[in-house]
Structures are given as C-alpha cells and as structure tokens.
Amino acid sequence: MHSLIQLSIVVLLLPLLSFVILIFFNRRLPRRGDFIGVGILGSAFAISAYIFWSVIVQTYDPAFRIAWDFTWIDLGNVPGVGPLQIKMGVVIDNLTAIMLAMVTLISLLVHLYSTGYMAGDKNYGRYFAFLGIFTFSMLGIVLSDNLFSIYIFWELVGLSSYLLIGFFFEKQSAADAQKKAFLANRVGDIGMWLGILILYSQFHTFSFEQIYANLAAGQFGLSNGWLTAAGILLFMGCVGKSAQFPLHVWLPDAMEGPTPVSALIHAATMVAAGVYFVARIFVVLTPDALHVIAFTGALTAFMAATIAITQNDIKRVLAYSTVSQLGYMVLGLGVGAYSAALFHLVTHAFFKACLFLGSGAIIHAMHHEQDMRWMGGLRKHMPWTFATFTLATLALAGLPLTSGFMSKDAILAGAIGFAKVEGGGIFYLIPVLGFFSAMLTAFYMGRQIWLVFFGESRTHLKPADDHHAGHHAHASHDEHTDEHHSEHGVHEVSWNMRAPLVILATLSVFFVYSPDPLDGGKGWFMKMIQTPATVVGENNHQKGELLAAGVAAPTLPEAVPTVAAHGEAPAAAAGEHGGAEKGGHTYADPRQAEIIHAGHGAHYTAIYISSIMVLLGISLAFVVYVFRIIDPEQTAIAIQPLYLFSLNKWYWDEIYEATFIKGSMLIANILSWFDATIVDGIVNGAATLVRNFALLNDGFDRHVVDGMVNFTAFTVNTTGAVLRKLQTGKVQTYVVMLLLAVFGYFVFYLTRLIY
C-alpha cells in the first residue's frame, strides 16, 4: 500500500475521530473541545498539504494516479456471474490531491473562524462535531475510487448538511430548511443511484476503473439510449447537490444554518461535490448527456444571477451567486471545458468562502442583522473585512488579475468553442447566457459592496417590529438582542475570524494559479488537470475496425491510463498552446478533440467579451447605486412584473409547494383513506362476514367500511338471519323441513332420471 494512500486514509479518518470525540465528550472537555476540532483539522490539512506537495509539485505528472482497494462485501461465487465482490477503495490523482488540500484548508479555516463566530452557543461542542463528520464525508467523496462509496459519502454529506442547516433547530424556518435540503438532495440521489445501477447491472462492478475499461471496450449490453440515460441520471446527483435547476431551491434556504457552515458546505465544498462528481464520471457522458448538462448549467447560471440582483438578504445574494457560479462550472463540464470547470471550482471555493466568512463577520458585527437595506458605511468600522470582501468580490465578478477571471474566462472560451463545433444555432445560447450572467454578477456584487460598505449606516431606518422571530430563535445570542443597533455596536472582528479572511483573499489572486493573469492555461492547474478521453464517443461502435486499422484506440483493461498517458505526455511537454493541437490529435474521439481545440482558439475572444460585460455590469452598478442616476426603487416600480419575478425567485418555491408537496400529501391522504376503508373493507371480507354473523361488539361497530363491504355485510347478515330463523323451535316445522329435504332431493333425482 502506497505511503500516500496511507496518509490519505489518515486524513480521511482524522475528522471522523474529531466527530466521535466531540459528539460524546464535548460537555466534559474544556471550551467544549473546539481546540480538538481545530487541532485535528490542522493536522489533517498538514498531511494533505504534504500529499499535495508530493503529488503536484514533486511528481509533476498529469497522468499521476495511485489507487488501493479492499473487499468490503463478498457475495461469494454467484451463479451466472462468478466470484463477486463489492470493493471499497481510495484513489489519488492530481484532482484528488488538489481537492484534498482545498477541502481540508477551507475546513480548517472555518473551524478557526467558528471558534469566534459560534462562541457562546449552547451546542458549541456539537457544532464542531458536525463540522468534523462533514469534513469526513466530503473527503470521502474526494477519495472514493468507486461509485458505491461515492454514493455513500454523498448521502453522508447530505446528512451533515442536514444537521448543520438545522443547527438552530428551535427555529421553525431552520427545521423546514433542513428538511427541504435533505429531500431535494434525495430526489437528486435517486437519479444518481439509478445511474449507478444502470452501469452496475452491465458490469457487476462499481469501480470507475473497471466500468470505464468495459465501456471503452464497448461491452455495454444495453442501447446507447441507456448510456445517455445513465449519464443524465448520474448528473441528477449533481443537480441535487450542486443546486442546479430545477433542484436549486434548497440552497438559498440552507442559509438558515450558521454562516461559517454556509461558507464551508454551501459555498466552497459540498455544493462543489456535484461538479467534482460529474468530472469523475465525465468520460461516460455521451454527447447528448453533455448537451443536457451544458444547458442546465447555462440556465441555472442565468436564472440565479437574475434572482440575485434583487435579493436584500446579504447571505441570499451570495447564495444565489453561488448557484449561478455552480451553473458556470456545470456549463463548463457540459461544453467539455473540463479543466476550466474544475479550475473554477477551486478558485470559486476560495473566494466564495471568503465572501461568506466576510458576510459572517459583518452579520456578527451587526448583531445578526442580515438585511443589506439596513447596513451601509461599514467600510470605516471593518477595514479588514472590507478589503478582503472587496477582493473576493472582484474575483467573483471576474475582473482581471483575479483567479475568478482566469477560470470563468476559460469556461466561457470553452463554451464558445463548443458552440462553434456543435454548429452554432441554439448552442450559441450557452455562451450568450454565460456572458450575460457575467454582467449580472458584476452588477449585483457591485450593488452589494455599495449597500454594505459605502454610504451612511441605515440601521436606524429599519422598522422596529421586524424580524424579531429571527432573534429569539438564536437562543445562543440572546444577550445581544436587547442591545439596540447602533454604530458603536459595530466593530472589527477578532483575529481568529480575520485570519481566515486574509488567507482566503490571498488565494483569490491570479499568481497563485498562473504566472499570466490573462491565461489560466499557462498555470500549473490546467496542466495537471487535463480533459480525460471519453469512453463513449461515436467511435465506440466502430472500435472494431479502428483496432483493425491499427489506430491506437484505447484497449482493455487499462484503457483510460493509456489514453491519458500518450494523450497528455506530449501536451505536458509542449507547454503553452501545445495542449490544444497535440491534444486534438490525441483524443480518440474526434468531437472531444475539436471542442478542446476550438476552446483554446476562442480564448481571447472570450477574454474580450467577458471583460466588457464585467465592466458593463460594474458601471451599471455605479450608475444605479453610487451616482444614483437611476433610482433603483423607481426602476423596480417601473418594471414591476420583472422585479417581482426576480424578487420571488421565479416563484419556484410556490410552484413546487403547489405541485409536488401538496400533490404527494394529497395522494398520501387519498391512499390512507383507501387503506382504512376500501382495502381494509375488502380484505376483511372474511372478517366482515364473521363480524356480521357475530354478536356485535363495540369494536366492530365503530369500524366503518365502505359501501361495497357494507353490501357484503348486508347480504351475509340477511342470509345468516334466514338460516337462523329456520330453527323456529316448532317441532313440526322441523318435520316439514325433514320431508322437504327428502322429497326435494327425490324430485331433483327424478328430474335427472327423466332427462
């Protein structure tokens, strides 16, 4: 077993340890044992940093991959299949290494930050325990080498997010939000599970390696439609987790959780897991599946952006921006800009975490005021927060010199290339939506910055009897509530909350990733994370003659590695643009090759357009909020319907409430009525019969059965009565009966004898 593997397993288990310790003993420990959480995460980060170092920096090899697995369930010698095991395992490649470092780092920072933010909460210890189990599950997703374990940890992050969203469970809204989040995710998981099942049912294995190998060998028994379905279904998992349309509704509500949690789970890591998962299964996605993914992403990005511009809750704005950014990533994967999407995943993780923690600092300072309308002028009071927040904002908006610029631009470039290759038309919608959302992003972030940090404090404008419920629920912070909001209440946060902000802000600058602020492609990241060759391209069917023709098509069983190897090796050598052309030749699947090529070609166009859009957006923000040339209120009234449409989040919640929730409750009630009356009635045929013959006892009387059964009861009842009445008690009747019986049969027999 490779030493890195061992280390990674240690990293995986450390947070679990922290969870176990804290959940059981937090009340017995000093400071509720938060230091344990922080300490353990610190060491976890240290180890993963080492892994990162040795994988990315030392062995600078795009094809780097080590894996290890063990038999978890042994089904013995299954008839018709042969020996069958379900294995669990760990895989480390560049992506894993990067994610590992990223997750542990952010988690560590959030732990640290929380020591300040959550101080004094009555479930302080439990909070860190939950963070621990979340980190554990997240790392699990990152490290898994097979679909089954990824599904397991998938559910587990769902659980931890459930627990953390509902951390203030006394608050009804929190309780609702956590339920909503879990169920929405479950819906996604169903799809994912079915997708997994489709693949398993063909190959009787869950491992990525073997599934891809088998697929590359064209051993997929079912039609290609099934394969596309598998891709889309697996993508549903991402739709749930990464809050893509139509399952995006849970993420904004998830902001009911503590803000650091929002930063960790609902901005940086868990929601990105969906994207990560799609990246993992990228190679099985058929073109059709990819189209679906691309459009979903584009739509999500656009929709969320439009919603974000009108939200007033500082966290909700960020939440929708998160949705929108996730949309970008998904879009990126959909258009085949694989590395760009993942690049954006990482950069976004850092700056969005920074933004959330910043907003957390603001909320903390404002005594849990979350409505931007009552903020303003915080610039002076919280310089650190202001600086870091702004930097992160720029990154999010995608201004040059920031990390966000590079990644987003790469995605958009890919989108353009994709549209070109797919032959334009409807497909240009994707880049267009992308660019438009970029503008919107710039606009609403500018708005936020302005509302929060500039101008004068508007705390006093706040109507008094608003949002009190919000306060009561925070049992932990009751001491604040009676304090009236005034500026001298607002002050910069303490170091343990400031440090994370600074670190994250620094990670949002370009040089961390690439020497050239205009091209992420030159950076180490894009080198390390190369688009893997698809195993389901058109060429799958003619793989036969391809092999005959001696074309170096991937061959079993180490198909993926070979492709990767002799695909990327030259690419890596050829620095700069090399990736594109050489890559073009090396991808077995022509479509994929073209797209990547076109993507690189469209690089600069993308830069120009996006910069313009961003500038447009920011200037618009200035026009509206700084120079007040356009009065937002007036505009809002002027475009009332549009405004409301956006303010009410396109009415998705209402729609779902009206259809799915109401619908299923209706069905449930109908069915249970059906059960209590009809089924019970019908199946009780015997019992009913018995009952109606029997002495009536109250239990039976109370039991209502529906008309049909009543009818049975009635008939049976009457017949029973009749039979009973035969016993008149008059002996002569008996004699008559006797004779009737005898002669009756005799006559019957006579007739039978005659005919």
């Binding site: 089904l75 587990l156 659980l159 299923s664 109370r702």
Partner: protein, 536 residues
Amino acid sequence: MLSLIVFLPIIAGLVILAVPSSQKQIIRIVSLLAALAQGVLAVLIWRGYNPSLPGITGSFQYVEKVPWISLQLGGFGSLNIEYFLGVDGISITMVILTALISAIGVLSSWTIQKQVKGYFILYNLLASAMMGCFVALDFFLFYVFWEVMLLPMYFLIGIWGGPNREYAAIKFFLYTLFGSVFMLLVMIGLYFSVLDPATGNHTFSLVAMATQTNYIKGAILGPDNVFWRYVAFIVLFIGFAIKVPMFPFHTWLPDAHVEAPTPISVILAGVLLKLGTYGMIRINFPLFPEVFHASMYVIGIFGAINIIYGAFCALAQKDLKKMVAYSSISHMGYVLLGLAAGNSEGMVGALYQMFNHGTITAMLFLLVGVIYDRAHTRQIEKFGGLASYMPVYAALVTVAWFASLGLPGLSGFISEALVFVGAFSSETTRPIAMVSVLGIVFGAAYLLWSLQRMFLGQRRSDAAYDLVVGDDGHEHIHFHDWKGKLDLDGRELAMLVPLVVITIFLGIYPMPVLGMLTTSINKLVEVLSPVVMSHL
C-alpha cells in the same frame, strides 16, 4: 443444541407456572435469564457455524433428526413425521435475530404490570414457537410451530393491548389463520407428492421437497401437474404474504401494532413479519421454482406497491405508532422486491433487509413506547421541540429514523442498496426497481417530517406536556403523571444501545451477517435458476 434454544423459553414458562403470581420480579427475572441464555446459545451456534456449507437442499448444520411419528396410512405407505431441526445460512441469521429481539422484548416487558405471570408464560411460548419456525426442517413441525405462535399472540394483543384490542386481536388471528390453513392442504399435497430418496417413503422433510427430482410424476403436486402446482404456490404465497404483510393483505398490521403493547409490537415487527418472507424463501420458492420464475414479475410489482403505498400511508398518519407500522410495510416491500429479483444480490439484500428491519423497527417501536409511556399519547401533533428537553432520546430517535430511511453507515442502507442492485440487475424486475426507487424519497419524507414535528421547533400550545422552569433556571418539560426519569433511563438505554450499536456496526461492516448468508443464497439462486428446472 437447537432443541435447547427452541425449548428454553418453554421451560422457563413452566418454571414461571410454578412461581406464585405475586412474585412478579422473580417471574420477570426468570424470563430474562431464559432469554439471555437463548442469546448465549445463539452466539455459540453462530460461532460454530461453518459458512461454507450451502444448506437449502442438504448439508444443514446442527442437524437433529429423530423419527417422531411413523404410522400406516392405508395404501399410502407410512406417514413419516420427523423431529428434524437444522440451520443453514438463511435460518441462522433469523435465529440470531430472534434471540436478540426476544431478549430485548423481555426487557421492554418490564413495565407490564397486569397479570405478569400469564403474560410471561405466553411470551415464552411465543418465543419458543418463533425460534422453532426458523429451525424446523420438517414441514409438519414447521406448521405446528407456525400455528402455535398464533394463540399466544392473540392473547398478548387481546389482554395487554390498547382500547380497541379485541378487534385487533381477532383480526390478527383470523387473518393469519386464514393464511395458514391453506398451507395445511398444500402440506398434505406435498406429502403425497414427494418421496424421500433415502427411505423411499413419503416425507414431510423440506430438504427432500427442495429437490425437484424427489417429486412423483402424476402425484397431485408432481412436476407434471402444472395447474395444482400453480395453485399450491399461490396459496402458500398468500399464506406467507399475509404474515409479511403484503398489500392488500396488510390491513391487520396497523391495527395489531397500534393496539399491541410495546414489547409485542417489537416482537411482531422484529420477528413475526420475517416469518412470512422466511417461509417464502424456505418453502414457497425452492419447492415450486418454476412457478416462482413465472411469478417473479408479479411479486416484484407487489413489492413495489408495498414500498410506495406503505410510504404514502405512513406520510398521512397522525399516530406515530401507526406511521411506524406502515413504514414496516414499506420496508418489507424491499424484501419482496429483492426476492423477486431472483439473483444473489437481490436475495442477499432481502435477507439482510429482513435482519436489519428486525433490529431497526424494534428500535423504532421501543422509542415510540418510550414517549408513549411518558405522554400516554402517540399523536404527533401533541409534541414539538422535544429535542431541547430530551437530548439523548432525540439523538437515539434521530439515529433510528435515519437508519430506517436508509442512511449510509447504518445497516438499513446496505440491504436496501443490495436489493436495488439485485432488482435492477435482473431483466425482469428492472422497470419495477426504477419505480420503487421513489420509496427512498418518500421514506425520507415521512420520517423527517415526523422528526421535525415532534422534536424540532418549539413546544406546541396543545402539547402533551408543560414547560416548567427548573430550579437551575433552565426550562424543562414535565409529563403529567410520569414519575420516572424525563430522558431515557437505564433500562431503556439497555434495550436501545445494543440495537444502535448493531445497526451502526453492521452498517459499516456487514460481512458478519452477509458472510453467513452468501453461500446459502447462491445455492438457493442456483436451485431456483431455470437451468436446474429444465431437467425435471
């Protein structure tokens, strides 16, 4: 060994018979000791079990086979009934489960105050009968145990049950009897159709019956008598399906559960329901493999109906216990689905689901019992915000609830996953599996919803308890006429913690149970496979 584990409780019952009914504590302790001894025996059996032997059609372990009754029947040779016990991978898991659940049941019976003596006598009789069913390999013997279960159950529900207990008890009795009397006919039919290759006599031995070559051509259930074989299969299936309970034969279950006292609900859900599916696996399918093959699709459909229908009904329930009852219906649906798949993954999943459902549902009912003891109501609307005041209870409920909705890391998940894997891998049940996956969501829906209504948020105005400010200044809640500890007390923890531990452990490392199953299941799948049947 097996005889001992089967008859221990009855012995205990006889001992109790001698104890004067005033000595409640002694009576309880005697039964507890018996149950614990049973548990120890179960562990010993488990340790000594060799998982590499398949069973099903032979090579059973701990076999005890003594001629019981042999009498001359007219021209039909001698009626040979054997006292034939033995375990294979399928039964041993159930044996362990039974031992575990009945021990926990005894603990939970501690609160029974009315007619303690009679209660425990019946309880022990029930325990023996259940155990007997799982180890009997002679159809006659199995049938005897099967029927002996009914009467104690009838009284346990009827005497110690809730307000509407008479109805529930007689309904349970009639339903299950209705199911089993037909089994009697099939049993006789099989007797006339099967020859024991060893002795050449007609036999009741299930082992002999499981081999299709032992059937007499032209006999009423002989291989060529297709019609009656189908009838027999269907009749048997209905008999077992009633126990499962399978839609539409399930309506006795909610009533029985709602009326039954907590320990009996635990036994009922934990073990009795398993008898239905166990019967299918042990008797129904291997004896009529070709019919099974013809009806896989239908069984799967019923499984799916159970899953979704049960979930929906649970979603609509106001009474917590009723909700849990419907959740059992839903979960037993997974078992049916897994069996319908007819492949190893599915069957293993089904068996494992039986085991897990046993432990998890036991947990659920115990937890319901806990709150019922305190509040004397089970109406979900009567609670709210309990989590703040009963943290330990809330924590355990959360674990149990999540185990029930199949959260990874808890045993329920693995079994459900395997069931789906199997059901999806088999061409026949694939579409059904795709539908029944919905059960995952609705399962989560009703469980989380009830969790939220009862434990999260604030106390409701009409709650079954009042808020009082304790001397330490914090708020506490107080149940009317409840003297005991507010949160779980020692006894309740003693019942629940083992189950929680098992659930988590088996969720992380299932092999201890699966390891015993796989060989037998693979053998079973082989027996059921059409290849084998072709050369009848």
